[in-house]
Symmetry: C2
Subunit: 314 residues, 2 copies
């Protein structure tokens, strides 16, 4: 039940990592609407004019700040927060990087790379990339979660039962997310907003882009969720799908090896067809290619497929 109450929480109210001892920066009641201002995943260490030298100086202690935490009246362990995502107001710029040591093919891409994106924040027209590429945008929040029950400071990087850095590209306008509550008040935070991303986020970064997010928080008492779940109000890939896909596969007994093989195949295809450097193709795969499990039952070999939307180059 939406209330008539609305709140704003500014980006100055952020934290690094999850800790249920963090004092709430805002208290709301179920049904309240909140406008969050977020900082990009670099913690504002990168900007629209940044270069590779700035990437090299990145202080990893300051990555992925999340705005919050927000205390929700009456939320208790065993409940679920019901988050309805209303609107994303992107900033018009973003960055994608290959960060050494991070990403699905970290062993193959050891050199840092950085791409700065400019896009039209009002039209959200596809963003230019390399020779002739245009990447459709669909803004969403990469990190959205609540504080874990376990005391102490927990890294922001891995997602958990309570959500967090899930990097699910469908955490976009209209989606309703249910998160398991583990501490009184839930302590909700959000950040790591992306202008767009494919399933998998294979190079480890998306179009990292600060933006404002408007959402409603509600409460489902006694939901006892095992892990996060969500509902989308409609299609999830219409921005990508109109011209079909180029698809590469990885076939074998290990899903991770299959994922790597499929992505390597796509990098080969994109470099051959469109004159991208391998690392440029890898970053492009991260922002718009989708990793799917085509079959996981034909023992002992599974098929992982990587879907690259042809609309990017057509």
């Amino acid at each position: 039940m939406p209330s008539n109450r609305s709140h704003t929480i500014h980006k100055e109210h952020h934290h690094f990592g999850w800790n249920n001892a963090n004092p709430p920066k805002l208290k709301v009641a179920p049904g309240d609407r909140i406008e969050f201002d977020t900082i990009d995943a670099s913690g504002a260490q990168l900007g629209p004019e940044s270069t590779l030298a700035d990437l090299a100086r990145l202080d990893f202690g300051k990555i992925n700040p999340v705005t919050g935490p927000v205390h929700v009246d009456g939320a208790a362990p065993g409940d679920a927060l019901k988050i309805t995502l209303h609107e994303f107001a992107p900033s018009g710029w973003g960055w994608t990087a290959n960060i050494p040591g991070f990403g699905l093919l970290a062993d193959q891409f050891k050199e840092a790379a950085l791409h700065i994106w400019k896009y039209d924040r009002s039209s959200l027209a596809p963003a230019a990339y390399g020779p002739g590429g245009r990447v459709p945008l669909k803004p969403f929040a990469g990190t959205i979660g609540v504080a874990p029950a376990e005391p102490g400071l927990h890294s922001i990087v891995p997602p958990r039962r309570v959500g967090g850095n899930m990097d699910i590209r469908d955490m976009a306008a209209g989606t309703v997310l249910y998160l398991p509550v583990e501490v009184p008040g839930a302590l909700f935070s959000i950040g790591d907003t992306h202008a767009t991303q494919g399933d998998g986020e294979v190079c480890g970064t998306a179009i990292e882009s600060p933006m404002a997010v408007s959402l409603t928080i509600d409460l489902v008492k006694g939901a006892n969720l095992r892990s996060p779940r969500y509902t989308t109000p409609g299609p999830v890939a219409r921005h990508f799908d109109a011209k079909g896909y180029e698809v590469t596969t990885g076939i074998g007994p290990d899903l991770m090896a299959g994922a790597r093989e499929a992505v390597m195949g796509m990098i080969d295809l994109l470099t051959a067809k469109h004159g991208l450097k391998p690392v440029e193709a890898y970053m492009l795969c991260s922002v718009c290619g989708d990793l799917r499990v085509s079959e996981v039952v034909d023992m002992p070999n599974w098929v992982v497929s990587f879907y690259f939307p042809r609309i990017v180059f057509e």
Copy 2:
């Protein structure tokens, strides 16, 4: 370059397993069009009137026959076959089963179950399932491949570098598939046709349905493919996506465990919401739910998501 030649190969010309010593049943030139008649994955041991008792008597030596092999003039190791899928003419019936010992959750679903589907072969209107469910159809070939270089008989069940039982739900009309050739003449076969399936084929069977398939075989000399790849002519999930999705997640350091957790979550949701028995929900997940890798880079936890199309119950 399409030729004007067309051929028909009847279902009597089938084989069990892959073996490059199988004599060709048909010889074609690149560019030829071929109509294949196929047998369902039970090898015609199940029919529209079958019961659980018939499933229990299944002879697994006769499962998954493929129609072929077809020898392609001039095909040599290192080339790729280029298969353009034109049309599927489904039979109007199909079966989905939980077969003990087979499937993503075989440890949890130990009892055999069988569902016989009837659908309109001309309109391909969504097929009824359980209380109020309607499953959109998109016919395709589950098994499509060429003979492996390694001599001897190889099980039909696992897919390989040369394709085979890939169970990729987008091997549908319009798709162009490239398969690595490993033996002279390629020795192409096809079968295991499905009226529809989701990504993952989680219970191990789809809507198993005999049908005729029309396709053109062409040759790409010296393609040197590492594994199969394909191009789709347009969107791949429009039959599922109009009403959005219910999505469950599995979060943790192992993709297989994540896939299992996500599917278990969806079975719980479908049984609670729609009054299905767990095994009925499991089979429904197999025919229309999609398994995706949402992120595979936020060390050490990955997110696997299972997308169930809301249109089935709306």
